[in-house]
Symmetry: D2
């Protein structure tokens, strides 16, 4: 079945694993004439990149995108776009000890049950490494939304453990607030409430010291969304958003606010 595609009018299809040669996404349904460059892609791919601070996964990777198709003289052609991101830090040696072990909270057992064997070097196709393709496609989607109806999509960390950020006006949160603290230092947890952000970092560091991890919640705000997006009855906007987010490996819940 076609589990590697998402969307209809704007449809993405992805391939790639944590330790294979590359991740690639094909984007179908992007209108012609949208300016698109590797520099555009690099911004969000850079934001996604692990290893940016001591509180996250330590994988180190340049994540340099290459546009393989669908762009001519700097603009989208209207036909399918392909974007490639190579895996440079495969570090498969680090994963050898888990060859015969199923990691809790991962799809290792499921993949063995479903496919009969799996890429033991890591999560393979089930790894969050796959989101590199989603981020690249998201850059294109955000451009269409911005050019098409002045819409903006911004996400940030709302909660870590029991610490809940105070974000009185979600629609006014800026990328600057999410990325940088008032003192100019990087906002490691990307929470726009600086006081809570500091507490969150402290909590994560404490959990880390105990060799544990901690869950949280992200809030995503879309502004200037035109009425009538989505389709009745199964492709309601909330249903498609929910599916998109719940298909991320670590996401276990979704809630729609007005």
């Amino acid at each position: 079945m076609a589990g590697n595609s998402f969307g209809q009018a704007f449809r993405i299809t992805t391939a790639g694993e944590s330790h294979g040669p590359a991740n690639v996404v094909i984007i179908d349904g992007c209108p012609p004439g949208i300016p698109l460059s590797v520099e555009d892609l690099a911004v969000d791919l850079g934001r996604r990149r692990p290893g940016q601070s001591h509180i996250v996964t330590q994988r180190q990777e340049a994540d340099e995108p290459e546009i393989l198709a669908g762009v001519f003289e700097g603009r989208t052609t209207g036909t399918s776009i392909a974007i490639l991101v190579r895996n440079t830090d495969q570090r498969s040696r680090d994963y050898g000890d888990i060859k015969d072990k199923y990691r809790p909270g991962h799809a290792d057992y499921t993949y063995d049950a479903k496919y009969g064997f799996r890429d033991y070097r890591g999560g393979g196709r089930s790894s969050a490494r796959e989101t590199v393709s989603r981020v690249a496609a998201g850059v294109v989607a955000k451009k269409i939304i911005a050019l098409g109806f002045g819409g903006k999509v911004i996400g940030y960390v709302k909660q870590v453990g029991e610490i809940v950020a105070d974000v009185p006006q979600p629609e006014l949160v800026t990328l600057e607030q999410v990325e940088t603290l008032p003192d100019g230092s990087p906002n490691l947890v990307r929470c726009p409430d600086p006081a809570r952000a500091a507490e969150m970092v402290e909590l994560i560091e404490r959990m880390r010291k105990d060799q544990d991890s901690i869950g949280g919640a992200a809030e995503i705000v879309a502004t200037n969304v035109p009425a009538g997006l989505g389709e009745p009855v199964f492709d309601k906007l909330k249903a498609d958003l929910g599916k998109a987010l719940l298909s991320l490996p670590a996401v276990l819940a979704f809630e729609r606010w007005l």
Copy 2:
């Protein structure tokens, strides 16, 4: 776009509104040889039917299903199944006063914005009346799950307002517990914790007296589910379940428990 279909291997396509002549569902992908009768359908359609007690919507309707296609000599043929449920209690006169008003929490404004006009007699296609088709298709799905791998799916009310049921072993809840209280009377809120069930009814009645309503949470338990259902990466089981539930008009959140 094809917003009226859901699923791939087992795919349902629906049509029908709250005040049109009928609701109909076409089911694609049901294996051949599954016993299927209108009596099978009637059980869950009966459970879904509004107007069964004073605490729910008062629409009165027989909801008698008719199998139009896909069944021969009492068994599914393997080709597409069609099930029809006529709308008998259209009561369009009751809705006349809302012809020019947008109801809060409904899709009235959205439909006007999207389509330019709408069936002002009720929710039209956005009405929860549409779930009659989902319930009919669900009967077929549950038969496949039961016959295919001995699986069972059962749902019940877990929470109303702040009242949370105590259900220590969700996998042992029976349909009998959900439908009937220990004293033999109908379980109006379908909560398998009888003490909480009584409190929930009381709360709903209080809200109703105040011309208000109250939210809640349903818990759905599937047992004997084989490993490997769903497809990486977008069609993960939790993502498809989330989308299915979030496409219901009143559902605003979804959470996966192990």
Copy 3:
């Protein structure tokens, strides 16, 4: 798999067999505001109906359509449309002698191999009876084409056996010419070249007397088609038209003319 749906922007899903209760089609993607009535549907359903002359299949059926959903106050709502046509002349007694025989050129053997059993009363789902749903959906499609860009689609018999009609200007052929001969009598073979039409009837009658049948070719002309219909690379217009026609039971070849 979803073999009972066709199309994307305008998508039809069908169910129904030759000897089941009814055929039904759900149409997804029809714009709102298109006038649609059972009378509109009746015209082409009448043209499709077998038993209209001695040279065709003798099945007798009224084929009265019912619109179950998607139309409000005489206009399409923009949400899914459902159209029902009941099978009134099921005549299953006539087919009893073929219960254990596979008819050549039919899908009888294939269905047994694929599904393990079949509706022996006729072709079941493989019967051309299923085209009643396509014709109903075609009426809606032709309305969209006419209202959307003044397009017209007309089909006629171009060839029977070796007899080829002379149609010098296909784009000027009228429905009147296809339906009625110059002398006012019905054009039994629906060939707009009256001389060839007479020869075709004669040939078919001769074949019939010998208990044989004969193939032919239909030509379908679409005018005022806007440039750019279809999508690269797999959904080219010629590819989708080819698939649509080749999915008809009796069609074995497709050819695109400019």
Copy 4:
């Protein structure tokens, strides 16, 4: 719309143009455990490559495939496969003179009408260069067919102009006959009837001298096909094969033989 995908259980999605950086295909639905290497891919990509003789297009390109995803330790993983083929001979300088001209029989005008601009260096997405992705996916498909039920698919040229090959037993034609003439020289037109093959080459050379081209017909034979492939009613095998072939730029007709 998703025009760049084909198939359901085995689904391919492609991107790439004649003069962009690369062509890429993502294959969804390949079972796990199928041995797959770049060497496997190279055989058919080599057969597809233009410029192999004086009677075909003179584009020169190595067409070296790279497997980006979906293969681990030489076998398919069951998750999506991605194959990349770079465009090395872009020769865009050669096409400059057609920047403002619409080539007859090409999609140049259609693309301008549909998208507002186009890659004037060649056919862009409409170029037959795109078939490099189909050939790569076809290698995988043929492996599944061979391993799954011992099936074989072979194609050859049946007709060029009025010259029709005599192929009395299509099911016995071998790849050797299609590729090599009895005297050991390459079979330039890939027609397994050597006498007709020679006439075809002569005809093509004559047309070429007159700066003209000539059409033909290919015959594709699949053996050991299991009964029941395809799905009623729209996804009949003949309908899907027809669509696949008619979606090739140069194919204008399709005919099914038993």
